[in-house]
Symmetry: C2
Subunit: 192 residues, 2 copies
């Protein structure tokens, strides 16, 4: 449906990003970058995902100069603090307990590169308000394993959906890829 | 994960509703009602889905008195008018052209019944703002076939995601089942 002028490469291992691109009808391959994801010292949280998305896109673009390379990175922020992936089940329970009944922010950066150069980048912002649930539900959720490889310890498109009271902003941004921003980045590269 | 006191029956053929209940981890079976979906004369659009959801739940509940029966119905409204499922491709293009660049409302009613009696019901409300896209994208989308069995002629969790600029309210409500309202209805029937 969305034909492009060059082959599209997704520089991310995330099955959720793959799912969104597939859902939109893009043909693409996956080649994940081995990028050091440490944010530069002093960079504010909101700017980090776009910075890392671009870093990933440029890294793969140098290996695949003939392709359009899409990089992406998602960050969960609460009280000015970045919530990464939980290190173990206890950490996941602690993280979800902090998010319980409150609103946190999710930023997803997207970046497009070709021939080792940046074509464009932007950041999707969403505010996610969690419902109130009891500790045994939360522990059962963590026991199910879903939180372990997710920033903020939940998946909005999985069982974790029960945690969410409402989302202001793009749902797919929380899932890992802001759709309109991604389409906007790819628009100049569409085959006519 | 969410164990219930009685077997759960979903009174809907919608694969999207099934997907959401599965995602949340419920065990359930599907038995669709053959309900006449004509709304009562003069009922305002916003009240129709809950009315029909309850009608479906009660109908199946009489056949399956031992079960908890969940009924649901989704309605798309623009300018006070109900947008149903398109009758053909031209109708789908016309419907999507009306929605283009504007905000419409999606109401999903949910109702729970047992032993032929209503246990509870409610309505989820979402406002969906469509992006602006060109006619050829829209025609390609309709040609792909996705709009044909959907109220309002799009699927928010399918290729139709490219249409959406933003959603105020529950994403899953637009997909066909408001998650928090459904969990709230089922809460008194949870096994402890």
């Amino acid at each position: 449906m969305f034909a492009l002028t060059h082959p599209l490469v997704l520089a991310s291992q995330s099955p959720r990003r793959r799912q969104i691109l597939e859902m939109l009808g893009f043909d693409f391959t996956v080649q994940a970058a081995d990028t050091d994801e440490t944010p530069p010292l002093g960079m504010e949280a909101e700017r980090v995902p776009e910075f890392l998305a671009l870093k990933k896109a440029l890294e793969i673009s140098r290996l695949r100069p003939e392709a359009l390379v899409l990089g992406s990175d998602t960050l969960v922020e609460l009280d000015g603090e970045i919530l990464g992936k939980p290190v173990d089940a206890a950490d996941a329970v602690a993280m979800l307990s902090r998010l319980h009944g409150r609103t946190h922010r999710v930023f997803t950066g997207v970046a497009l590169a070709r021939g080792g150069e940046r074509l464009g980048s932007s950041t999707g912002r969403s505010e996610v308000t969690f419902a109130s649930w009891n500790l045994s539900d939360l522990e059962a959720y963590v026991q199910g394993g879903e939180p372990m490889d997710k920033a903020g310890a939940y998946a909005v498109q999985g069982r974790g959906a029960f945690l969410v009271e409402k989302i202001d902003g793009c749902f797919f941004n929380v899932m890992g890829l802001p759709i309109q921003k991604t389409l906007h980045l790819l628009a100049p590269s569409r085959a006519t």
